[in-house]
């Protein structure tokens, strides 16, 4: 009574189409999925190409030219400027510059930072770890908490849990990430009145960080506030999406059918409503990676967390155009990869899309 019923509603609308294809012979689900994945991969490669092209032209829009940024606050002679232009390759034709840019980007040569006097790719490699730690932890907690609570809230639509959690997430959704960070910084790191702060105000580790397992705890202690800020903002979104997505399903006929069959309430939810409601939510989780990246930039700026976001912020503030360009490329490519993954997962999960 369990397995076939559980899958029944999901492929309900497309069942005839699937039967038809199964009758034709060998090419059911898997091969079309592979073809679909290949198409999406091609699309992703195209997107990355577009990012590279856009980056090149975007950064050529800088008023004047990069030499002005390089020589800011320094008196230079026209000869020195000309030398710098030649070193940067700015005296060559645009097409040649572009091909050179593409070739170097493909080799992960992202130029040299003006501020640090080091290769940008090296800087990015160093800063990627802390960002992965922060964003990964934050995302995992936020997704788990958001989906679970969103499903609960929607099922008891209008109940107390629903009202409290939508209220809380509406507030959190309205709060700019960086301001929440400032509040937590003020309340829990700097201390309020007689209460001392419990968490560090900045950074990932102190100068006198201990070794071994104690180091893990040390970093964990520094991670609490940035992670909490990121989770609070991101989780609200997942909750609301899951909630509205499940609400959409509750109005459907197959739920009434499932109930009429005499299924227990939480079985209807777990086996029928939630799997369908998960589909749009899963895509959103991946599609919102850009949102997480934005959150990470704000959070890292507020807490001086030594990740890519802080690097990007410092490059904007500089301005250090080589670093700005490199970080921009890396963040965009990372998000494209996640988005492609989402498309493929969605395709595997939803037979309705597959038959379309």
């Amino acid at each position: 009574m369990t397995a076939p019923l559980g899958t029944a509603p999901a492929d309900g609308p497309s069942a005839p189409a699937q039967d038809a294809r199964a009758a034709e012979g060998p090419p059911p689900g898997r091969r079309s999925t592979l073809r679909y994945a290949a198409a999406k991969l091609g699309g992703a490669v195209l997107s990355v190409g577009m990012v590279i092209v856009a980056t090149f032209f975007l950064f050529r829009l800088i008023p004047g030219d990069p030499t002005i940024a390089y020589t800011r606050d320094v008196p230079v002679s026209p000869e020195q400027l000309a030398l710098l232009r030649r070193q940067l390759g700015l005296d060559r034709p645009l097409g040649e510059q572009f091909l050179d840019f593409v070739w170097r980007t493909l080799r992960l040569d992202l130029g040299t930072s003006y501020e640090y006097r080091r290769p940008v790719s090296e800087l990015i490699g160093e800063r990627a770890g802390p960002t992965l730690l922060l964003a990964g932890t934050g995302l995992a907690v936020a997704v788990g908490l958001g989906l679970w609570q969103g499903a609960r809230a929607a099922w008891r639509h209008g109940g107390r849990l629903d009202r409290v959690s939508t209220g809380v997430s509406l507030v959190l959704w309205s709060v700019p990430t960086f301001w929440l960070g400032l509040l937590l910084l003020m309340g829990l790191a700097a201390g309020v009145g007689p209460f001392p702060g419990v968490f560090p105000t900045r950074g990932m580790e102190d100068v006198d960080a201990p070794d071994g397992f104690a180091y893990v705890l040390h970093v964990g202690h520094h991670l609490v506030l940035p992670c909490l800020t990121l989770v609070a903002v991101v989780y609200a979104q997942y909750l609301l999406v899951m909630r509205s997505s499940l609400l959409d399903e509750i109005g459907q006929d197959y739920i009434t059918t499932a109930r009429a069959k005499g299924l227990r309430d939480d079985e209807v939810r777990r086996r029928h409503a939630v799997p369908n409601a998960l589909l749009p939510t899963v895509t959103l989780v991946f599609m919102n990676i850009g949102f997480v990246v934005a959150g990470a930039v704000s959070v890292e700026t507020v807490y001086s967390w030594p990740g890519l976001g802080l690097l990007f912020y410092e490059a904007i503030k500089g301005p250090d155009f080589a670093v700005m360009q490199g970080t921009f490329l890396v963040l965009c490519v990372a998000v494209i990869v996640m988005n492609t993954l989402a498309d493929v997962v969605y395709h595997v999960l939803d037979p309705r899309v597959r038959s379309a």
Partner: protein, 296 residues
């Protein structure tokens, strides 16, 4: 065009019903009231207050002074009244919010309906562009745009509007696909309805409620985006709530106990953004028949 009288009468009863249902939940009117207050403040500020108080060189208050009778919300690092800065800041935040949401909705709806309606390469190209804008982390792109084009109100509006339409386009496209899968669209086509007819007379009315609710939510997002951009250094050159928070961070207000300087602008942002969100959700509840059927 249908006969004017009939359409007019139907429109009237529809809007009457709309208001009744909108009022039925307290959150919608509450949000609308907050919005009205914020807009009034923004409009009346130049009539009631003197912008000279925003001049750093002519500020009279104490530096980082706590709230007092003279300065109800305290003062900033150069002795300007935080309350005065907030009322002037509301103009910038609201204007940027409205304008960039409008820009983003126009682009998003047009692209979304077109991408959902047409098949073949036009849809593929549109979706490729949409996906591309969707994957670019909008805040990061907006920051780069603002940094490259230089600050200023117009740049910020452009940066937010151009980077935030893609999710709307996807939403509208999904809805368009759902609408066009219905049999009556096939009927309209069979009766000789062209692309324009189907898109404007059948698809647009069906996605319009979504567009309206989404615009309201989009303004909320744009105001948050504006404050974040200002905090991260891309400022419009005028006093704004995000810019105030930037200054409070630069001057260590959060760690030195100057809570009024951190709380006041932030609470304003949250109040206005939440008001837009509440109104948007109330509109959604009234306009979306599926939600209405699900009960409250």
């Amino acid at each position: 065009m249908s006969p004017l009288t009939g359409a007019g009468r139907r429109g009237l009863t529809r809007s009457a019903r709309f208001w009744r249902e909108f009022r039925a939940r307290p959150s919608g009117p509450a949000g609308a009231a907050i919005l009205l207050a914020a807009v009034l403040v923004a409009l009346l500020t130049p009539l009631l207050t003197d912008p000279a108080g925003l001049d750093v060189t002519r500020a009279t208050g104490p530096r980082m002074g706590p709230p007092s009778l003279e300065h109800p919300l305290g003062t900033d690092e150069s002795g300007r009244s935080v309350l005065l800065m907030i009322t002037w800041g509301s103009r910038v935040s609201l204007l940027i919010g409205f304008m960039s949401a409008l820009l983003s909705m126009v682009i998003g709806t047009t692209v979304g309906i077109a991408a959902g309606h047409f098949r073949g390469w036009p849809a593929a190209v549109l979706m490729r562009i949409t996906d591309w804008f969707l994957v670019l982390p909008s805040l990061v792109l907006a920051l780069v745009l603002a940094a490259i084009l230089g600050g200023g109100m117009f740049t910020i509006i452009l940066a937010i509007g151009v980077t935030s339409w893609a999710s709307t386009a996807r939403l509208i496209r999904a809805q368009t696909l759902a609408v066009e899968a219905r049999p009556y669209i096939e009927r309209a086509r069979a009766l000789g309805g062209g692309h324009w007819h189907v898109m404007t007379r059948h698809v647009l009315p069906n996605v319009a409620p979504l567009v309206l609710a989404n615009t309201t939510l989009q303004v909320a997002g744009a105001i948050v985006a504006e404050s974040t951009l200002a905090f991260l250094g891309a400022q419009s050159g005028q006093v704004s709530w995000g810019g105030m928070l930037r200054a409070s961070y630069d001057w260590g207000a959060a760690t030195s106990g100057a809570w009024w300087y951190v709380l006041a602008p932030g609470l304003c942002i949250v109040a206005v953004v939440m008001a837009f969100t509440l109104v948007g959700r109330a509109l959604e509840a009234v306009l979306n028949p599926r939600l209405r059927g699900a009960g409250r």
